[in-house]
Amino acid sequence: MSQVLDSKIPEGALAEKWTKYKSSVALVNPANKRNLEIIVVGSGLAGSSAASTLAEMGYKVKVFCFQDSARRAHSIAAQGGINAAKNYQNDGDSVYRLFYDTIKGGDYRAREANVHRLAEVSGNIIDQSVASGVPFAREYGGLLSNRSFGGTQVQRTFYAAGQTGQQLLLGAYSSLQRQVGMGTVKMYARHEMLDIVNIDGKCRGIIARDLVTGKLERHFGHAVLLCTGGYGNVFYLSTNAMGSNVTAAWKAHKKGAFFGNPCFTQIHPTCIPVSGDHQSKLTLMSESLRNDGRIWTPKAKDDKRKGNEIPEEERDYYLERRYPAFGNLVPRDVASRAAKERCDAGYGVGTSKMAVYLDFSTNIKRYGTVEATKNNLTNADEATIIKLGKEVVKEKYGNLFDMYKQITDENPYEVPMRIYPAVHYTMGGLWVDYNLMTTVPGLYALGEANFSDHGANRLGASALMQGLADGYFVIPYTIGAYLSKEISVKAISTEHEAFVEAEQKAAEVLNTLMNIKGTKSVDHFHKRLGKIMWEQCGMARNAIGLKEAIAEIRALRAEFWKDVKIPGTLNEMNLELEKAGRVADFIELGELMCIDALNRNESCGGHFREEYQTEEGEANRDDVNYAYVAAWEHKGGDNTFELHKENLVYENIKIAARSYK
């Protein structure tokens, strides 16, 4: 481990670390909690759960979000579910298995102690959510229902139809609103954090912009929690919400918080393909569809026929061909790369040729035959069988099929779906220790904003788990380790020179942006950045491309600061100005992502370096040289960085290669 990185993992056996830690961590007495102020930036699962829980404990809390209400945060869009080691299905699940699956799924690039703690508290999350009124799916006996997800052999995923993220967020939001009503949380919606304020080496507050009036505000806190989500929008097109951004994390990075594994990005294999230059975002089709859909491309290049007109023997079910053992259910990173390979080789479908088919016809017939048998229709004709089969598929996936039809105007019951991979989640984020504290004392990062739990590839249904674990059950304990030493610190006046200076700097940046008065819109630059990132730092990367990308991004940054055009004025609602600030930060982050990807001379999880692959084209991990977290320090100047390494020590799991053949 680098000199400057102390992950503060407690001593003792893995399974006892968290229990012992909780019993020995310093506490803050209730009278002192009332005098301690905590700022929470972001109101998704991590932010809402942390804010409400800390307020319940007695701390004074302020919450900031850029949306018009805390309830809009992008956690709301998660579809599939949330994992928990409850073993309600009696199928052999345990805390250890969830821990093991998560480490393995992350391709052995996550920290053991954090992941084990995540698995330990996973069950409490379900209890807490049910108690706060989250209507999870249930069986007829009244007990909770589970389903399976990728990368596991047990059923441990809890869900609420295809809206699990929405229901969990509304649960946490309700608890948050309860505290707002009691006056223990002050809510600042339509506010964006533009900088952190450090005093004597500790984070003591933030500068925020009121997005309605345009005014800058100074806010003091004894501690600051960044719960600001991921940075997938660096690619312009992603499944993230339009407003999702890296600004809070990036500003913190530039003030001393190291950035961990920035190049670890998850590309989800089943999204609706891009339909044209107007496209503003991409829509996910749930992973569950791969249970019954078969993925293929035509065997002939540039086949002009419609999907349903291509006969069986002229179809290449390439996942089943390459990975006979797992077939269409290989993990996300593998499925995504295989789709890209086919399209790059000229076998893509649709007008753009950047798509593959996800076809339900085989299983429609299979289900139809089963239904016919059940209904004693011994001589059912093909039309009847297909009709019966479609009804079964509708029951299972009806809402997803409807969504597909709405967007593409094609009927997936009749023609195969066209899908293509899209940026979905970022495993990288601010480096944090076991306490979730960044390298800036008093500054924490929770949820997708930190790097800690998913290694190089996140398993499905684990993002919701991590957000709520961090907010409900981890930070309420670990923040005591820091705040117990801060009880004598009186609230610092926001007239302090550090606040004044930070506000001035933020104002200068905004002024500079407004005064460029160039010729091209913010979106113009964002799209160009996205194209560079997607082509050179997307599903497959190589040293030559990454070096080119770094040069291109640097040139783009220079051009942006000379030629961006932002209409309107400073002191009013100005959506273009908001976007400009975010894109400026994305451009700087994009460069760091490429630097990180270039540094990591191996392939692991979502990070695939073309130079490092096996003869069969699979990822070739290098555990001897790269079993570490790359934590980058911003050295100021012209976007320069220094690498620090946290070596990953596996004491409880034996590292092995992943194979799906």
Binding site: G133, G142, Y173, S175, H278, Q279
Partner: protein
């Protein structure tokens, strides 16, 4: 996919801020692909306005997949436009005809003041939630989730009510600008669950009191809210809200 392009005339409400009076501006727009979403069409307009040195149209949006509830827009006299059961971000231009004039306004309700152009302030919904839209359980107090069986029918019905995305289309659709469907959905979600029982009476009284204080109108059962709700929240929730309210009022101490 049958992509075509459309030439349209847009009449859009422009308003500088809360204090200023607004008015309609007319913008011709051409070459709009029928595959675009409605918001992407506005993106195209904004790009053009920026190029021409004009101010782009401010509008709320975020997830663009129909779940965050942030996008609004009153399109040709209907919240979220002409298609049933979708938000504006899920509305596609193939729902419009060549040469059509499309009128776009913000949500109209005194409890939703216009902040700029098509952006309104819906914080009144948050305040209604803060008044009672929760179950008072502190983190750490929960018992094992399966120690409390809940009948599937009740759980499913509760989920249907909980599907509300808080967009405010119900208020915008209502001639009285009533927030009854929004409040009813939350009251129903908890009234149907055992966890919601201890605060069942106080919750409905407090939420309704806050709703009235915010200046939302009364319900006259026209059903416009249900017809325009992008998530299909049923009018039966309002019937339940009325029952809950009467029962709570009768028994309140």
């Amino acid at each position: 996919m049958s992509e075509k392009t459309l030439n349209l005339t847009l009449k859009i409400w422009r308003q500088k801020n809360k204090e200023t009076r607004g008015s309609f501006e007319t913008y011709p727009i051409s070459g709009i692909s029928t595959d675009m979403s409605f918001l992407e069409m506005v993106d195209v307009l904004n790009e053009k306005l920026i190029t021409d040195g004009k101010e782009p149209v401010a509008f709320d949006h975020d997830c663009r997949e129909g779940i965050c509830g942030m996008c609004s827009m009153y399109i040709n006299g209907r919240p979220h436009g002409p298609k049933h059961g979708v938000t504006t971000c899920q509305l596609h231009m193939r729902s419009f005809k060549e040469g059509e004039t499309i009128v776009i306004e913000p949500w109209r309700a005194s409890a939703f003041p216009v902040l700029k152009d098509l952006v309104v302030d819906r914080s009144s919904f948050d305040r209604i939630m803060a008044a009672g839209g929760f179950i008072s359980v502190n983190t750490g107090n929960a018992q094992d989730a399966n120690s409390l069986p809940i009948g599937k029918d009740d759980a499913d019905e509760s989920f249907s009510s909980a599907a509300c995305i808080g967009c405010g289309a119900c208020v915008a659709a209502c001639k009285n600008a009533s927030a009854m469907l929004f409040v009813a959905a939350k009251v129903s979600q908890y009234a149907l669950l055992p966890q919601g029982q201890p605060e069942r009476s106080t919750r409905v009284l407090k939420m309704v009191a806050q709703m009235e204080q915010e200046g939302f109108g009364s319900c006259t059962n026209t059903g416009a809210c249900e017809a325009e709700c992008p998530k299909g929240i049923s009018l039966s929730n309002i019937a339940r809200l009325n029952r809950e309210y009467i029962s709570a009022s009768a028994s309140s101490k």
